[in-house]
């Protein structure tokens, strides 16, 4: 899966501007699915199979957008002021390199920071694309960029920008390849605008009207020095989410996921995330309500340009999804 992960994470598609990543994913999955469509918000919706006896309409969601920056002002000397798209961490900005969706690269600098112990605010940062004047600047107000950082293969561990949530896109694509038999009508949805408030998942879930929803996303870990204590660690398998700040997973779905992992001998961990949420929240609150769960890929340094996952966790996530989707579900 490594070449696929590299291809997905090296594509630039911040929230709202997902067409580049949509084209990459579409090329991967087109031969594998029965129906493919794109909705008004740009969600890529792929159907595989139809409902048979005991089957459900299941929506699987991985978001294809990533956090990024949007130009708000080009000053007379060609420096670009910007705002964040999604949860930008100012500590990770200074010295970062970015690439605009148009292909233009740039670096982030800051105003003079008088207190070196404080992180700069977004307002104190700017992007320098090497322009000498406003006229000379190839970037316009409203142009968006992502963080530039090549994929890094540390063998057991993989590092890239936008592992959140391209790693789950890779997991869904690989699952789509491997699932041969399923009693379910499966919707693989590559959602948009998750990072700005799970927006794509809410409209795609309304359109699909599923019986069951599963988001696949990254989650934080508690296995780095002096971090916030948390049970999840890299390398102990994909995590079954019990709750996060925006969603309480359906306990029946949680039990089904853990039971299936145990039965198939796939390592997995239970996850309680205190901040943040995923597409599962939006699916759960669609129409009259939908039972949902979330399969998480443990990930260090989330929302920095160097997000790290464990390769075995990724492979086990595919295995678990395959096991979950191959059999009938009784909740």
């Amino acid at each position: 899966m490594k070449p696929l992960i590299q291809k997905l994470t090296e594509t630039f598609s911040p929230s709202g501007y997902e067409n580049a990543i949509r084209a990459v994913i579409r090329a991967e999955i087109e031969p594998l699915v029965d129906e493919l469509r794109v909705d008004a918000l740009g969600n890529l919706i792929a159907r595989k199979g139809t409902k048979t006896a005991g089957g459900k309409r299941i929506m699987l969601a991985a978001h294809m957008d990533e956090i990024g920056l949007m130009a708000t002002h080009i000053d007379e000397n060609g420096f670009i002021r910007f705002t964040g798209i999604g949860g930008i961490r100012p500590t990770a900005l200074n010295g970062s390199r970015v690439r605009f969706v148009s292909g233009v690269p740039g670096v982030i600098g800051t105003d003079r920071i008088t207190d070196p112990t404080k992180a700069p605010t977004l307002e104190q940062c700017f992007i320098d694309v090497g322009a000498a004047s406003r006229k000379d600047c190839p970037v316009k107000v409203g142009d968006v960029c992502g963080f530039e950082r090549p994929f890094l293969d540390l063998k057991k561990r993989l590092v890239a920008k936008s592992m959140d949530d391209r790693i789950a896109c890779a997991v869904l694509i690989e699952t789509l390849r491997q699932v041969k038999q399923s009693p379910h009508e499966l919707y693989f949805v590559f959602t948009t605008q998750e990072e700005v408030g799970v927006r794509g998942a809410s409209t795609s879930a309304f359109g699909i009207d599923p019986d069951l929803g599963l988001a696949v996303d990254v989650t934080a870990t508690g296995d780095t020095p002096r971090c916030l204590k948390m049970e999840v660690a890299l390398g102990k398998g994909p995590a079954v989410k019990v709750k996060d700040a925006g969603m309480l997973a359906d306990p029946r779905v949680v039990a089904w996921m853990i039971r299936s992992a145990e039965k198939a001998g796939i390592p997995c961990q239970r996850e309680v995330l205190e901040g943040g949420t995923t597409d599962a929240r939006a699916i759960q609150l669609t129409r009259s309500g939908v039972p949902v769960g979330c399969l998480s890929i443990p990930c260090r340094y989330v929302h920095t340009p160097s997000e790290m996952v464990d390769h075995d966790d990724v492979l086990n996530a595919v295995k678990l999804l395959k096991a979950l989707l191959s059999k009938a579900v009784t909740l």
Binding site: N19, A40, G42, V141
Partner: protein, 356 residues
């Protein structure tokens, strides 16, 4: 082509002077209903109090296909106050409704309730304050609305800033420009509707406390396109030190502000490009709103049902969400002109491809 003259200014004056704090929009709704009933095929007031006014297309599309359904919203509600409890002697504890900076409440006159009873958020005269007092922000729970001894109001009644509409040539000074100027704009559009589209106009409630009216209105109207028409704060005062202003949001006098992104919506790029191209073709001044925070009804519309391509266009004004805003007549005229020109050119082809 709709124009803005004395009748339109009179209407804006009535709208601006009316009291309609979120959740109690009746006074503005009455004015709206009066204006739109003669213009529309159907006019409905929904459960939350939105006015849903529909004017169907005059012409059919080739092949008898249904016309494009375009939803426009402007919110009727405004920021203000709700009285919470009487403290005796005509003094009332109150809460704010919508985003209000507490620092600018002290010493403002207000109008309470549907009868517009005069009141004041009292301030101590300067000679009864200490230097420390004057450096402190006054907490909301120590402020009162004073109706005077014998003044009566009921908990739950709303209050607005008492500012009355004034015009000086091209300049408008009034409260609730946000979003009565949008309401007035949509009334004019209903008078001169583009022939080829179904115009679905929602005069919405409860925008200032979380885009609530627009959410249910968009579900009910189920449009193909959504456009929020609102007002947006200009932070365009000249810098005292000659430095370039890089955080202006929009500038007064530079025309309608087309949104690319705010806190609630990443606008549909196809609609952004289309309205910008329309402005250029028609030589209507316009500007991009500086991407950043804030939100409009578009934030609720684009997430309705299976998703609706949406955009916001605003009239710029200074000092939004305070007792008095300052807007320019030419910005209003250009906003109306851009919306009208854009809607006249709008076809399904604009949205035929994927969002990009």
């Amino acid at each position: 082509m709709p124009l803005i003259g004395n009748a339109q200014l009179k209407l804006l004056e009535r709208l601006s002077n009316a009291s309609a704090v979120s959740g109690d929009e009746g006074e503005v709704r009455q004015i709206v209903l009066e204006a739109v009933r003669p213009l529309c095929d159907t006019v409905k007031v929904d459960a939350l109090g939105n006015v849903l006014a529909v004017r169907q297309a005059a012409t059919r599309r080739p092949g008898g296909k249904a016309p494009l359904k375009v939803m426009l919203t402007a919110h009727m509600d405004e920021i203000g106050f709700m009285l919470v409890a009487e403290d005796g002697e005509g003094l009332y504890r109150f809460e704010t409704v919508g985003g209000i900076d507490l620092r600018q409440l002290v010493g403002k006159s207000v109008l309470v309730g549907r009868e517009h009873k005069p009141g004041v958020i009292g301030a101590r005269p300067i000679h009864l304050t200490s230097p420390e007092d004057r450096r402190r922000t006054i907490a909301l729970d120590t402020l009162r609305i004073d109706l005077g001894t014998g003044g009566k109001a009921a908990p739950g009644e709303r209050a607005v800033f008492a500012t009355r509409y004034q015009r000086s040539g091209d300049l408008l000074f009034c409260k609730a420009i946000d979003d009565r100027i949008g309401v007035a704009t949509l009334i004019e559009l209903l008078k001169a509707p583009p022939a080829q589209i179904d115009l679905l106009v929602a005069f919405t409630v409860q925008e200032e406390n979380g885009l609530r009216g627009a959410k249910v209105a968009a579900h009910a109207l189920d449009p193909d396109v959504g456009i929020a028409v609102d007002s947006t704060p200009a932070l365009d005062l000249p810098a005292w030190d000659g430095e370039e202003n890089v955080a202006y949001n929009v500038h007064l006098g530079q025309g309608p502000a087309i949104y690319i992104a705010d806190g609630s919506t990443l606008c549909d790029p196809r609609l952004v490009r289309f309205f910008h191209a329309t402005a250029e073709a028609e030589k209507i001044p316009c500007q991009f709103r500086q991407p950043g925070g804030g939100g409009t009804d578009a934030g609720a519309i684009h997430k309705a049902r299976a998703g609706i391509p949406s955009l916001s266009i605003s009239v710029p004004h200074r000092y939004g969400h305070t007792a008095v805003s300052l807007a320019r007549l030419d910005d209003w005229k250009n906003t109306l002109a851009l919306l009208h020109a854009g809607l006249q050119r709008l076809t399904p082809a604009v949205l035929a491809g994927e969002r990009r």
